[in-house]
């Protein structure tokens, strides 16, 4: 094994060594397996917790730069100790439970939300052979686990016994369930093109080595990637879709009654979910750990960092949308467009088949993968442009009607004013 290979597979080698060590102590069997799995799970969860702390700092620094502020700069050099200070504060802050609260529901909600957020990471491939568990229903599992947090949000809203919490929970859930639909629909093209729901298979299909053709799915389904990212941002309730929290305007929605560690868990859930969305976007559309020269885990890290920076950038620059815009944008634009997109990919993928054998048996024109990708890319972009044009025309018509209305009213007012003057 060359040095190069060792560096590339360092995570797997270390993992195997630790597993061998545990087996040598406990003996091969159920107990050793359990201990290895528990260790792996604890490591993944702790990495998430550490990433959460790092991300809060990075986000505050970067958003501050974007908005021409300095951001945290008091605790330690460049404010680097800020997350630790926050952590100490969270641990030592008094935690009040409202007297009217439904105690069990109130206390369980943050735990449920954090657990559901962490469960996503069980199936994510970090490097070749380094994955919690390679479920053959991977993507579906991620979507299912993601939908579980809605119940926790309703628990928080109801348990607080506060009408603003409950209203906030209702609105958050309406947003979450709404944006879950385009997310679900836009994973379908990826699953169709990869022919599998397993995240490992999906990544392997985008690498050059193991039976893949090296084309990331963002080139084959760019529209799906775009909608997935938008709905992912909305799912995690980040700006510009964070009007349900809107810290600067209204009270914080469903977790207004929470403080101390329980609030920290909600916050952790939010960040861990945002990270999960960037990782899922990387895995599904950017080829996960696939990439030349650099070790796979470095590629994954770079891509995820790029996507997360994009999220921060959006957060730092875009204004919040209105609640009616939020709902209309989803149900009247994203969902219909996703459906048309799914049908488009379905038809094109069946007419222009990248696999010569399948083209022979099922009908369709056999083309090289790169040509198929090109056709898919062009048609997706065409669909996007067409729908944008349609919306722009509708909007222009609406504006014209409004302008006419205003003119009419102005004219009426003038007539009325003239009458008053005449009297």
């Amino acid at each position: 094994m060359t040095v190069f290979e060792v560096i590339n597979n360092i995570l797997k080698i270390v993992g195997d060594a630790v597993a061998a060590f545990i087996i040598s102590i406990l003996g091969a069997g159920g107990l050793a397996d359990f201990v290895i799995m528990l260790l792996a799970a604890l490591i993944i969860c702790s990495i998430c917790a550490v990433a959460f702390m790092g991300l809060t700092y990075a986000e505050r620094k970067i958003v501050a730069r974007i908005q021409d502020r300095i951001g945290p700069n008091q605790a330690g050099p460049y404010g680097l100790l800020q997350p630790i200070a926050d952590g100490i504060k969270m641990f030592t802050k008094e935690d009040t439970t409202p007297a009217e609260a439904d105690r069990w529901v109130y206390n369980l909600a943050p735990l449920v939300i954090a657990v559901f957020a962490l469960l996503t990471y069980a199936v994510i491939p970090f490097a070749p052979g380094v994955v919690g568990t390679n479920l053959n229903i991977g993507v579906f599992y991620v979507i299912a686990v993601g939908s579980g947090s809605t119940v926790a949000i309703l628990m928080a809203g109801w348990g607080s016994n506060n009408k603003y919490s409950l209203l906030g929970a209702f609105r958050t859930v309406a947003q979450l369930v709404g944006y879950e639909v385009p997310m679900l629909l836009n994973v379908l093209p990826v699953v169709m093109l990869a022919g599998s729901m397993s995240l490992v298979d999906i990544v392997e299909r985008q690498t050059l080595s193991n039976g893949g053709n090296g084309i990331p799915f963002i080139l084959m389904a760019p529209l799906s990637a775009l909608i997935f990212l938008i709905s992912g941002i909305a799912e995690t309730g980040r700006s510009p879709f964070d009007l349900l929290e809107a810290e600067s305007e209204i009270v914080a929605g469903f977790h207004v009654e929470y403080s101390g560690m329980k609030f920290a868990l909600f916050f952790l859930g939010e960040y861990v979910n945002a990270l999960a969305v960037s990782i899922m976007f990387t895995v599904l559309f950017l080829g996960g750990y696939a990439g030349p020269i650099l070790p796979p885990y470095v590629w994954l890290l770079l891509k995820v960092a790029a996507v997360f920076t994009l999220l921060m950038w959006l957060r730092g620059t875009l204004p919040r949308v209105r609640v009616d815009q939020l709902m209309s944008f989803n149900w009247k634009f994203l969902v219909p467009m996703s459906i048309v997109n799914v049908i488009l990919v379905m038809v094109i993928g069946k007419v222009f088949v990248a696999d010569a054998v399948l083209a022979q048996s099922n009908g369709g024109i056999a083309v090289p993968p790169i040509v198929q990708a090109l056709i898919l890319f062009t048609s997706s972009i065409a669909l996007l442009l067409a729908s944008l044009l349609l919306v722009a025309r509708q909007a222009r018509q609406l504006r014209l009607v409004e302008a006419e209305d205003i003119e009419k009213r102005v004219a009426q007012n003038k007539v009325a004013a003239a009458k008053v003057v005449a009297q």
């Binding site: 397996d33 359990f34 799995m37 792996a40 799970a41 604890l42 993944i44 969860c45 641990f91 030592t92 008094e94 409202p98 007297a99 009217e100 943050p110 735990l111 657990v115 962490l118 069980a122 919690g132 568990t133 053959n136 599992y141 979507i143 939908s147 109801w158 607080s160 506060n162 009408k163 409950l166 209203l167 209702f170 859930v173 309406a174 369930v177 879950e180 679900l184 379908l188 699953v191 169709m192 022919g195 599998s196 729901m197 009654e257 560690m261 920290a264 868990l265 009616d324 209309s328 149900w331 219909p336 799914v342 049908i343 379905m346 993928g349 069946k350 007419v351 696999d355 099922n362 369709g364």
Partner: protein, 118 residues
């Protein structure tokens, strides 16, 4: 299959342990001086009027309805997507009919004006 899911169960256990540890640790470390004012329901300092039972709009329910529709459709569409590569062309027509039927109920909701949030 089952052994694959063992890790999910262990992950759940680990997450509960870790988060439970954080909650318990915080409850040991933090001060506990409840007073009547602290335990009141927070309404920006206003006196709470009535309890949390307010009448909600039926619109929330209708959004959830359409969500259920596409969710259940997903159960059928994902197996299809997995099998997609080996399917003949006419199978695609059936699936397109299926998806268009789903789209039909969205369009119905749209025409009835229930997607309008106001």
């Amino acid at each position: 299959m089952r052994t694959d899911f063992a890790f999910v169960a262990v992950m759940m256990l680990a997450a509960v342990l870790l988060m439970g540890f954080a909650l318990v640790g915080a409850s040991i470390l933090r001060p506990k001086k409840p007073s009547k004012a602290k335990l009141e329901t927070y309404e920006c300092g206003m006196e709470t009027v009535g309890d949390a039972w307010v009448q909600f709009r039926v619109q929330y329910y209708i959004f959830a309805l359409i969500f259920v529709l596409f969710d259940v459709g997903g159960i059928f569409l994902f197996p299809f997507a997995v099998a997609y590569n080996s399917l003949p062309l006419y199978a695609i027509v059936i699936v397109i009919l299926f998806i268009l039927t789903l789209l039909g109920s969205l369009l119905y909701a749209w025409r009835k004006g229930v997607l309008q949030w106001d």
